[in-house]
């Protein structure tokens, strides 16, 4: 795996759900005609049925069941004691972008590090547009035959080849900014563990640099955002990458907002703020009204940390291409565009739905523009905002990005159900996006780290598999290869 700059393949280990009852697509009923013959254990290839002792069964592992397309246990039970049905509750789980299938398949990958069994969609959602209408176009036979270990999934982040760090990451994926406050430490540290294992990065978001992250310094991006919360000389010096957050895809043109309840004494101390008060990050940076102003910020970072890579995170308005080229001339290494359907800990619904363009349009727009300006190979284009699956990553890269940033996918791996209540009261009831003392104790960083390592491992395998079919030795060959995509187009109503 030297191709990925990894000393060893990160260890996949089982990281089962932390809940006693798993939500599954299928439900299995065993009635009292069962004679404990264990035929079901024998015929089930998915390992759903397990016998404990001579006369009892453990509860069926329904989340592993592949459903009616198999039906082996039902068909072969001599007493007709088993029934498999679709779980009626599944309708409550998920939404257009993250369907219940996508949530369940992400959970499966996070638990096992492997692709889910048949019958669960793991590539696309049901949004009716963008990635969900794009298909990867595979040639009948790959133009060249490659072995899996010849294929590299790593990408360089410094394409200027200047004095800054020559950072290369093992996967074309890194973790999005989530501040301490918006999420809890078990989440932050889990992300950092996975970033280290896969030789990639996680990001502090705008909330300061928690001391427990120090062992992960080489895998942490620290964010400088408009509120400047927790930004200190020390935090800038620790890291290899500094990210300027000008806007966030879910709420472009609006500031950040940490609700008072989530601003615990610990959070407040890091942000140098008063506990219990709501904290606002204004929009825009009141010291940046031009690319020249931005350059001044970059110089300021470079004075403290001359070898730092500079990433500029912006959302996707119509002029995002101009912003990208401006950032390039202001010496950014990474232009990170965050599309309008991206995640957030709290945003007005009107902003999440309406402001700025979906990332699927912004990627080709920026990629083509940078190419036309002759600088595309000098800057790393990172896309985020609605990247849910390994297939989304591949599509984003074929549309023109070098790599992607993920956020919601990580949350889902930690058993987020997308109930969207991250912002209310004490925060996430499932302990992911909260700093509430009681709620955060639902899991530890060991578990969250392993879940994320597993998910990335499954994604890695899918990248390799896709590149093999395309006959590409490196994921870098895929950038901007529109010919590897097919697009069905979006139905335009009433025109």
């Amino acid at each position: 795996m030297s191709n990925n700059n990894l000393e060893s393949v990160p260890g996949v280990a089982p990281a089962p759900s932390r809940y006693r009852n798993q939500i599954s697509k299928y439900i299995i009923y065993r009635n009292d005609r069962c004679i404990n013959c264990s035929k079901c254990v024998e015929v089930c290839k998915a390992g759903v049925h397990q016998q404990i002792g001579a006369s009892s069964f453990s509860r069926p592992q329904e989340h592993k069941c592949i459903g009616v397309s198999c039906n082996a246990c039902v068909d072969q039970c001599p007493e007709k004691a088993l029934t498999v049905i679709i779980n009626p509750m599944i309708e409550m789980l998920g939404d257009y972008r993250w369907t219940s299938d996508l949530i369940l398949s992400t959970w499966y990958q996070a638990e096992t590090g492997k692709l889910p069994p048949d019958g669960l969609e793991y590539c696309i959602g049901n949004s009716g547009g963008g990635f969900d209408r794009l298909r990867i176009k595979f040639p009948e036979n790959p133009p060249i035959e490659l072995k899996s270990d010849e294929i590299s999934t790593s990408i360089p982040l410094n394409r200027r080849n200047d004095n800054a760090h020559r950072v290369e990451i093992g996967l074309p994926v890194y973790g999005g900014g989530m501040s301490y406050g918006s999420v809890g430490l078990s989440t932050i540290l889990g992300k950092a563990r996975a970033a280290k294992a896969w030789n990639t990065f996680t990001c502090t978001g705008e909330g300061g640099y928690h001391a427990t992250l120090y062992p992960y310094d080489d895998h942490v991006i620290t964010q400088v955002a408009t509120g400047l919360f927790g930004v200190r000389e020390d935090t800038i010096k620790r890291v290899k990458i500094v990210e300027f957050k000008y806007a966030q895809g879910a709420k472009p043109g609006l500031g950040g907002h940490l609700l008072g309840d989530k601003n615990t004494p610990d959070v407040a101390a890091m942000r140098e703020a008063v506990a219990g008060t709501a904290l606002f990050s204004p929009f825009p940076f009141h010291s940046v009204y031009s690319v020249e102003d931005h350059k001044k910020h970059v110089d300021w970072i470079k004075a403290m940390n001359p070898k730092a890579l500079v990433s500029v995170k912006v959302s996707t308005p119509t002029d995002v291409d101009m912003v990208a080229i401006g950032s390039y001339y202001a010496e950014a290494h990474i232009i990170h565009i965050d599309g309008s359907y991206g995640g957030t800990g709290a945003a007005p619904n009107i902003a999440k739905k309406n402001i700025a363009m979906p990332i699927e349009y912004a990627i080709p727009k920026v990629h083509n523009f940078l190419k036309a300006e002759g600088v595309r190979d000098k800057i790393t284009l990172i896309a985020s905002g609605g990247i849910r699956t390994a297939h989304d990553v591949v599509k984003a890269i074929a549309l023109g990005a070098d790599g992607v940033v993920i956020g919601t996918a990580e949350m889902v791996a930690l058993e987020c159900v997308r109930c969207a209540n991250c912002e209310s009261g004490r925060g996430c009831p499932r302990g992911i996006a909260t700093t509430d003392r009681e709620l955060t104790h639902q899991f530890d960083p060991e578990w969250s780290g392993q879940r994320l390592i597993n998910l990335l491992s499954s994604w890695h395998d899918q990248f390799v598999d896709i590149l093999k079919k395309l006959g590409m030795k490196s994921v870098q060959e895929l950038v901007g290869r529109h010919d590897c995509l097919e697009y069905e187009g979006v139905a335009i109503h009433g025109k």
């Binding site: 809940y19 006693r20 009852n21 798993q22 009626p88 309708e91 409550m92 939404d95 257009y96 972008r97 049901n126 009716g128 547009g129 963008g130 000008y246 806007a247 879910a250 709420k251 472009p252 043109g253 609006l254 929009f283 825009p284 009204y289 031009s290 959302s315 308005p317 119509t318 002029d319 101009m322 912003v323 309008s340 359907y341 995640g343 709290a346 945003a347 619904n349 009107i350 902003a351 309406n354 402001i355 700025a356 363009m357 727009k365 905002g385 919601t408 987020c416 159900v417 109930c419 991250c422 912002e423 009261g425 499932r430 529109h482 697009y487 979006v490 335009i492 109503h493 009433g494 025109k495």
Partner: protein, 461 residues
């Protein structure tokens, strides 16, 4: 700096338990665990639940926030959830359950709906869902955004504006300035599409409109004397027929606005109305159909001051096999008027299908000066869009019994939430005046353009 326009909100709970999205399902067989999953509900839903014996509803269906913890933690696996079939049945193909639920929330709280996670809906959709509003990135905030949202003005003008002013040799103004009205937010209360509209409902609409200082349309024949205190914002609507019988309304003190339903010779009646009250500003209500473009131009040439373009209550073109949507029709008309250099002579009000704050911003981006809202007002008062009233059946939320004070608060809350949201999107766009939002398609993105510009290269043939 002039006094800031501010809408005071008052939390106003619904009279009926709302139809929740969730159906809570529990099986028998409780094991009586000491540490019950229900007790650890983060939202105390189980502690606060009750049974609404009148509507036969478990209040849990609307209290539950769908986090699945009790479902996944109950040792007996007794708890589950499904989508409430009654919720799915709310509304119709345009006024979807989500629109109704979010309107209820805003009417109750007066707050902007905020949530975590990304947008949960489809990529794009019919009508207003096939366009996005833009924002202003680092290169442009200087345009307006520097001042912050407290300086954003949402006011617009209704009336005719002169293209240029004329002065005599001594420099005295000789142009006759037509009357003009400034409204603090680009909204007008429309006549209601259906429902048995009680006097109380009209009074509460009038009181809210007066408080908000925005016009309220009312069929001239429905006007009654108690409304006279609100004449300043009353906008009686006449047909040629009702004009003959009700024109004395215009002689009453204080009425500044009126509307005429379009017919071939309508301008004669507009002239008569103006004779009665020279300061009157008159709107002509025009159906959005095939002929709307031509008639609009003719009306402007005839000197009309306001044109109210109305689509059906779902925002669709009238009498068309494949109806166009209001946003596209308004956009086309606006563009034609701009091309003929007559757009600034008239104010355009658009109505039909304006159900969310984002629709307001979007229809203005497409070229309207203001929008008129209708069904939304009923939904604020708990209407479920079941349309039983249109068949003469009883109203499940007893609309005929509403209390004026309660209804007024609900309407004002909704408008307060819309006003804040309009400011949010304008702030993001870096636009400081609603007047400048009109037709500013540089701040809008349309699905068809994005598809053509960026995806054509990979489109399946």
């Amino acid at each position: 700096m002039p006094e800031k326009y501010h809408i005071s909100i008052t939390p106003t709970p619904p009279r009926f338990t709302p139809i929740g999205k969730v159906s809570a399902i529990e099986r028998d067989g409780c094991l009586g665990c000491a540490k019950c999953a229900k007790k650890s509900c983060v939202y105390d839903v189980y502690r606060n639940r009750s049974f609404d014996s009148k509507q036969l509803l478990d209040t849990m269906d609307s209290l539950c926030k769908n986090c699945f913890r009790c479902v996944q933690e109950c040792k007996g696996r007794l708890i589950s959830r499904s989508i409430n079939p009654e919720y799915k049945r709310l509304g119709d193909s345009y006024w979807k359950p989500d629109i109704i639920a979010t309107t209820w929330y805003q009417a109750e709280t007066g707050k902007i709906p905020v949530s975590g996670a990304g947008y949960l809906g489809p990529f794009t959709g019919h009508g207003f869902d096939s366009m996005w509003t833009d924002m202003s990135e680092i290169v442009r905030p200087t345009r307006d955004g520097i001042h912050g949202r407290e300086y954003i003005s949402t006011s617009v003008d209704l009336g005719r504006k002169l293209v240029n002013l004329e002065f005599d040799k001594e420099g005295r103004l000789v142009s006759n300035l037509p009357p003009i009205i400034n409204i603090p937010m680009p909204i007008i209360f429309n006549v209601l599409p259906f429902g048995k509209v009680s006097k109380n409902m009209r009074l509460s609409m009038a009181k809210s409109a007066a408080k908000l200082d925005i016009p309220m349309l009312i069929e001239a024949e429905e006007y009654f004397d108690e409304l006279a205190s609100y004449n300043k914002i009353m906008m009686p609507q006449f047909s040629i027929k009702t004009f003959e019988t009700h024109k004395e309304l215009l002689e009453k003190g204080g009425i500044r606005l009126a509307e005429f339903i379009y017919e071939e010779n309508i301008m004669e009646y507009v002239a008569q109305a103006k004779k009665i009250n020279p300061e009157l500003i008159v709107s002509v209500r025009l159906r959005l159909d095939k002929k709307a473009d031509d008639i609009t131009q003719r009306l402007i040439n005839d000197g009309v001051e306001i044109i109210h373009l109305y689509a059906d209550y779902q925002g669709n073109e009238h009498d068309a096999a494949q109806p166009r949507f209001i946003k596209d029709m308004v956009r086309d008309i606006h563009r034609q008027l701009v091309a003929k250099a007559i757009r600034d002579e008239v104010a355009i009000i658009a109505s039909g299908g304006i159900g969310l704050a984002e629709h307001l911003a979007k229809v203005i981006l497409c070229g309207a000066d203001a929008a008129a809202i209708d069904l939304t007002l009923l939904i604020a008062l708990e209407c479920r869009v079941c349309k039983r009233c249109t068949k003469g059946l009883s109203c499940p939320v007893e609309m005929e019994k509403i209390d004026i004070k309660w209804a007024r608060r609900r309407i004002i809350n909704l408008m307060g939430a819309w006003h804040s949201q309009l400011i949010e999107v304008m702030g993001a766009m870096g636009i400081r005046e609603a007047r400048r939002l009109r037709g500013e398609i540089g701040r809008a993105m349309f699905l068809e353009d994005l598809e053509r510009d960026f995806m054509n290269a990979i489109m399946c043939k």
